[in-house]
Amino acid sequence: MSEIPIEHIMMLSTALFFIGAYGFLTRRNMIAMLMSLELMLNSVNINFIVFNKYLFPDTIEGLGFTIFIIAIAAAEAAVAIAIIINLYRNTKNIDAEKADHLKH
């Protein structure tokens, strides 16, 4: 694994982050936007572990941060899905463009 330069792994996580950003900008379905968000969070996890393993192998603090990010992502996904289901129950619609009741 040492022959892979750190730049290549970080380019992978960069590409994954911007794929998620593209999905978040173009998708209008709330569940699809949530999926793009998960991709972005995962690319951050890859970055933390790569920095930890390549640059500071004497500690494992990056791994600890990854575990905290995964826990918080699980909480965030659960709350988001509860909100989406409640919105669907009230309006029969989970399109982000049409959820503008608080604007008017």
């Binding site: 380019m11 960069t14 998620g20 393993k53 699980a74």
Partner: protein
């Protein structure tokens, strides 16, 4: 090129292809399945980096928890067979332009940065060390964030139940 390098590039291509399919496929249910494969690819990358605990947590929480939650919510909102309308050409054009230029800028930064030499110490992400990192009685351990995360998960659980609960009829 050794077998380890070939494995890395295969895993990277798998993650990126399934990620692109996640954000471009028309059917929402297929997007969820591609997201599942992308997350499994990231777990494989963690295995390749010999961080087995993170790979196991990735499979258990993301693949076993969040993707199943997303699939349930797709069924609960009756979106399983629905084709999503394609994004406006203007919007996808500008989003693609912004994303590609930002990614190119980040990649140039990465390539021109001088990475300091990591220390030669052995990386040991065993479960014992993770336990010491999270809850040991030393100033370096993450005891307070660990307790805060447990409170956060409890708050999220109660919040989800309150949000998703059916409102009681006011007058019986």
């Amino acid at each position: 090129m050794s077998a380890s390098a070939i494995a890395f590039y295969c895993i990277a291509a798998f993650i990126l292809i399934t990620g692109i399919l996640t954000v471009t496929t028309k059917k929402l249910f297929r997007a969820a399945i591609w997201l599942l494969f992308s997350l499994i690819g990231i777990a494989a990358l963690f295995f390749w980096m010999e961080v087995e605990f993170a790979a196991a947590v990735q499979v258990i929480v993301y693949v076993g928890g969040i993707v199943v939650l997303i699939i349930f919510s797709i069924f609960l909102t009756n979106q399983e067979g629905v084709k999503m309308p394609s994004a406006l050409t203007k919007r996808s054009l500008f989003a693609g332009l912004a994303v590609i230029s930002a990614a190119a800028y980040t990649c140039t930064l990465l390539c021109n940065h001088y990475w300091m030499k990591g220390s030669e110490a052995l990386f040991d992400p065993s479960v014992k060390n993770i336990g010491y990192l999270l809850v040991a009685n030393t100033p370096e351990s993450f005891v307070l964030p660990f307790e805060l995360v447990s409170v956060l998960l409890l708050a999220a659980m109660i919040g989800c139940i309150v949000i998703a609960m059916k409102a009681q009829p006011e007058n019986k």
